[in-house]
Amino acid sequence: MKTSKPIIDGSDLKKIYQMGDFEVRALDGTSIQVNEGEFVAIMGPSGSGKSTLMNVLGCLMSPTSGQYILDGEDVSVLDKIELAQIRNRKLGFIFQSYNLLARTPALQNVILPLYYDRESSLTAEEQEEKAIKILEAVGLADRIYHEPQELSGGQQQRVSIARALVNDPVMVMADEPTGNLDSKSGAEIMDLLVSLNKEGVTIVMVTHDPAIAKYTDRTIHLLDGKVAQVVKNGKEHK
């Protein structure tokens, strides 16, 4: 552990859906801690609740019960608008299908989170400079004004990584970041994530691929909405 400051502190998180007479317990008392600078994988079969956990940790939904403290702030009690602002200031997202705005240049895609930051003191020019710097850092110096449809899958995922980093988040959530990529580009993306993690970015990644999970510090296995097992991964890639 580089440091012990907790970024995620979720305890006894429950997410219960009422489907007619049935209760679906997507999360059934999950407790999870992630410290600053960690790279953590969440694994589990489909229906194990890993997507739900991802959505709760990513502040896209609130848990039915339990407490979730993100970067020292209890976010389990926040409303829609406050959650949006938390996502804007503290989180970055990387999706399996990239989720870039179509027909919009890479630069504008990366700047997008800054648009919604009410407290940003950056001018439009400074925002652009910052976005360009990050695009260069993820290896897209020559693709800044390209639109997503002109980019390969790996390049699109790099744009989305740049977008996740532009607001200096306390944590990046990655949902199957290599799911749509061939193994070579997938490996490149994972190498990029590992090097970002080395620079201090905290990353929580959901995957079903054990080979991908091996890139991380530890893997949290979910089953039926509960943490079944936590495995420390070897350091061969670190």
Binding site: M61, I81, A84, T104, P113, R163
Partner: protein, 416 residues
């Protein structure tokens, strides 16, 4: 987000779908242009009526037969107006400046080799030029003696004189009416132009007795002693709100006189007296009704345009669900999303409104040119149309925008 950024984002979104944006605006463009053109047409019509007020000559009273009393049976009684009624009014009512009786007939006329069909032969009396505000430009008019003697003379309207004689002076020339009535031209009227839908310049003016005796289609009228359709009475300056007697008073005197001459009671009068003001107000209320009808029709097209915007915005929200999800995931609040889509709708309606104003102004002008109708662009109609377009944008844009803002980020992101 800052307003400028919101507008910029909305603008970019519209640019990405140029054709669709344009088609969406079309409804608003047509609506706004329709409002402006419709109001321009009715304002033009009103202005024409205003000119008619001054063009017809002032202080006119019209006496006409009461058509409801002129049943076929009563035609043989004393119902209706006769030629002599006019002179009785002129002689016995004080405050009357002049009295004119008109009887017209449409005939073929010939002068030398030139022959014209369907010329209006206007039989009238000596006071006609003053009552109808017409000036003789060359020659003279006829007097009452010539009317009494059925003197075969004619005064030409300016355009008729030119058609028949070109640049030649028509004075003393002979015009043949209906093949066998020869009239000597003694004068030409100054150009008057169109008054309402009446062209005074294309007519031939002659003593009314010529028309009554020789040209009247209604033989019956000739036997029964010169029935006339209208007696025009011009009152002098002593009549009016500031004068010695009121217009109503003069009308009452005429009513009493005619009732006595016709041997009827006032309740059963076989004539109707109308003032010029009555006619103008009737016309005005007709055009006012016409105008509000047009404005309503145009307004409906604006609303239809607004529904078009709502339609497209709803499609757009569904289509761009994933975009909304992406924006939400990076921190857009429901308000941000609502404003984005509302701004798009507003931009559509405002730009559409601007184009519509331009189209309306140009369209009014073109319509005026093409139809010959007068159109007057009314500034308030431009503001009204543009304001309505903006209102329509907000009104019909709000529902789709609100729908977009209420999307759940997880569902939106998952949307294919």
């Amino acid at each position: 987000m800052k307003p400028l950024k919101v507008i910029n984002i909305a603008w970019q979104a519209l640019l990405k779908n140029k054709i669709r944006s344009l088609l969406t605006m079309l409804g608003i463009i047509i609506g706004v242009a329709a409002v402006i053109i419709m109001i321009a047409i009715s304002a033009g019509t009103e202005a024409t009526i205003q000119e008619e007020i001054t063009g017809l000559g002032s202080n006119l009273i019209y006496v006409t037969p009461n058509m409801t009393k002129l049943t076929p049976g009563s035609m043989q009684s004393d119902g209706g107006l006769v030629y002599d009624d006019a002179f009785a009014i002129a002689e016995q009512i004080s405050g009357v400046n002049g009295v004119v009786v008109e009887q017209s007939s449409s005939q073929t006329i010939k002068a030398g080799d030139t022959s014209l069909d369907g010329v209006t032969i206007m039989g009238t009396t000596a006071d006609f030029p003053s009552v109808r505000d017409m000036e003789i430009v060359s020659g003279r008019y006829f007097d009452q003696k010539e009317v009494d003697r059925t003197t075969p003379i004619a005064i030409l309207g300016s355009s008729l004189a030119e058609e028949l004689f070109g640049d030649r002076d028509p004075f003393g020339e002979t015009v043949t009416v209906a093949g066998n009535i020869r009239l000597t031209v003694v004068g030409v009227f100054e150009e008057k132009g169109m008054v309402g839908d009446v062209d005074y310049d294309s007519r031939l003016y002659t003593p009314i007795t010529i028309v009554l005796d020789k040209l009247s289609d209604n033989k019956f009228a000739r036997f029964k002693g010169d029935r006339v359709r209208t007696i025009y009475v011009e009152v002098d300056d002593s009549v009016g709100p500031d004068g010695e007697r009121s217009l109503d008073d003069v009308i009452y005197q005429i009513e009493l006189l005619l009732a006595k001459r016709h041997e009827v009671t006032l309740e059963e009068a076989d004539f109707v007296i109308t003032t010029q003001q009555d006619i103008i107000s009737t016309k005005e209320s007709t055009t006012a009704a016409f105008r509000s009808l047009l404005a309503w029709v145009a307004g409906v097209s604006l609303v239809v345009g607004g529904i078009g915007i709502m339609n497209i915005m709803l499609v757009s929200v569904t289509e761009r669900t994933r975009e909304i999800g992406i924006r939400q995931s990076v921190g857009a609040t429901p308000n941000d999303i609502r404003w984005q889509f509302l701004t798009e709708a507003l931009l559509l309606s405002l730009i559409g409104g601007l184009i519509g104003v331009a189209a309306g102004v140009i369209g009014s002008w073109l319509f005026g040119q093409a139809s010959g109708m007068r159109t007057v662009i009314v500034a308030t109609s431009v503001l009204l149309a543009f304001g309505s377009a903006a209102t329509v944008g907000v009104f019909f844009g709000y529902y789709p925008a609100n729908k977009a803002s209420q999307l759940d980020p997880i569902d939106a992101l998952r949307y294919e």
